[in-house]
Structure formats: C-alpha cells, structure tokens
Subunit: 196 residues, 2 copies
C-alpha cells in the first residue's frame, strides 16, 4: 500500500472538511476521512498527525512565507509596511481556497478546542514576525507591537474576506483595514463612527 | 469549618504562587496550597474552581471594568482613546500587585497550558470590548480592529511594565506604546529603526 496516491493530501483535506461540516468535528474519525477519500488510515497519518492537524496543516507554511517576506523587504521599508506587504502577498494562496477557508473558519469559530489551537498558532506567528522584524534592526518594542498589530489587521481583514458576499479579494480587504488602522491610531475615526 | 476566614482569597493566592514558583505549577496540589495558607481544601474550592483559576481569578473583573469604562467614556471620544483610557485606569489595580503580576507572567510564559488559557481570556476580552464599542455606535470593522489593537497595546505595555527595572507605572508604559502605535500606523518609525 505504499504506492503513490495522486493528490492524497488534497483529497484527505476535502473529505475531512465535508465530514466535519456534515457531522461535526468531534463525530468524525480518521478512518471515515480516509474511507471517503478512497485512501487508507496509514496514508492519512503519512500526511497529518491527527484529525485536528488537517485544519492547521498550512500554518507552518504561512508562517515561513510571512517571515521570509518580512526579512526580505527592501531596506528602509517601515516595519508595518513590511508586514502588510507580506500579508497582501498571501492573497493568491487563500483565493484559490476560498471555500475551504470559509468552511474552516465557521468550524473553528464554533469549536472551543479548535479556537484554542488557532489562537496558539497566531501567537506563534506573532513571535516569528517579531523576530523577523528584529532581524531587520527594528527596536524591540516596535517589532513586537508591529507584529501584534499586523495580526490584528490580518484577523479583521480575514473575517471580512470570509464573509464578503461580493467576494472581493483578501488584499483589498487588507488595504481597507490598514487604512482603518491609521484612522484609529490617529483618532480620525469620526467618519466611521455613526454616533456617540 | 464554615467560619469566616479573613483574607482567605488573598492567602490562597499567595500560597499558590509561592508553591507554583518553588515547585512548578504541575507539581503543586490544591491540598498543599490550602495547607500552606492554613485553610482547608473546602475553603479553597469556595473561592476557586481549580488550581489554574487562582491565576485567572481577576480576569472577569478586569473585563467588566474595561467594558464599563469604554461604555461610559464621554460621547464623541474616539474609539482608541476610549480603550486606552480604560486600560490606563487599571493602573492602580496592577500597581498594588506588581510582584504577583510578575510571578504570574513568568509562570504563564513558561507553561503551554496556562498560555492557552491566557490567550482564550484575551480573545474573550477582545470580543467584549468590540461589543462595548459597537454599543457606543462604532462601526463594526472599527470596533473590532480597535479592540484587537488595544489588546496589542496592552500586551506589549504589560510586558514592558513587568520587566521594567525602574518600576515605572503601567499607565506610563501604556502611553509610550500608544505613541508607538501611532508611529507604526503612519509609518513614522524611522527614529526607532536602528538600521535596515
């Protein structure tokens, strides 16, 4: 059974997401995921440590991608611009998986254990971005704050992207939120405040 | 054994922190905490659900305090100013417990399960602040982003406060980080970037 299975990872992810959505995450077993994908459990465990990791498989890759982009930003790029540009560059990755991202988001929001896992991954991403900025010579406080704030921008933009009925692309949402950040930080939010 | 014990909560917290620091969180039992405080296990459970909650006991109170302050900020206060003012108002609470806060922080940073718990509490705080801002008429995106960014400011300021050898007060650190946020958001961080 060690022959090469074309697109095994994608098939397993797709089957897992279908089952999680149909029956719930807790009610789905690895055996069922593998069966639906037409693969063995053994193949499943060649790609994922457990059924939770199916949902977080891309996060190490995302972190590496962002860190590399931040580290490689042109000299003199202000820290927040380096982080924002890196986030915008993830657009195509997410765009081709919008349905998966949407289902994944709904699943995680509704499941405390998965939310915990997501929060830990984001905290790890914040640390990695802080280090990447420090590696560019950014002072400690600014590096940490830029990483944390950059993730705040990402979280808000991502949620708007996931729920956007007009299906505007992620980079467009990121630019909106980046503009809103500047307004918030400088106190110029009157246009956005309905009253009070 | 139901007679009133003066300062029972504080004595239990103090004993717990001593034991966690001396032996480690995992190696400490509720029986040992109660014994060191000169109280019974039954008294412990009157105040705390488990040994982890000793470290998170104040977080509901902190959340209520911040939400109330944000909701009660003068009409027309920009959202980020409402959040920052609320955070600064927590200063005296933390100041009188600086040693406890410092020990607690060291413990949490070094223990994955406690870090998870902390991340969840912070996520809950972000949701509560978002709702408080929306209750003031702040638009959804701005409310969410202000809450998340406000917590980023709080986290960075809190860490600097905890490690400050000069023991400057928390509100002073909060103001520094708030100023840094404006610099980051507008791209004026050149003074803080050592090179690159």
């Amino acid at each position: 059974m060690s022959r090469w299975e074309p697109n095994a990872r994608e098939r397993l992810q797709q089957s897992a997401m279908e089952l999680y959505t149909e029956r719930g995450f807790d009610q789905t077993t690895v055996a069922e995921i593998a069966a639906r994908a037409g693969l063995t459990e053994r193949t499943f465990f060649r790609y994922f440590a457990d059924k939770r990791e199916v949902l977080f498989w891309g996060s190490a890759m995302l972190q590496d991608f962002l860190v590399e982009r931040v580290a490689g930003a042109p000299a003199g790029t202000p820290p927040m611009d380096a982080v924002t540009a890196a986030l915008e560059a993830t657009g195509p990755m997410f765009e081709e998986r919008r349905d998966f991202a949407r289902q994944r988001h709904a699943l995680i929001v509704g499941h405390p254990e998965l939310r915990e896992r997501e929060l830990i991954k984001l905290a790890s991403l914040a640390s990695a971005l802080t280090e990447a900025l420090r590696g560019r010579g950014t002072a400690d406080l600014i590096a940490r704050l830029t990483a944390e704030t950059g993730l705040a921008v990402f979280k808000v933009a991502f949620e708007h992207w996931v729920h956007d009925p007009h299906e505007r692309e992620l980079p467009s949402h990121l630019r909106d939120v980046r503009t809103a950040l500047e307004a918030i930080a400088t106190g110029n939010t009157m246009a956005n405040v309905r009253h009070g």
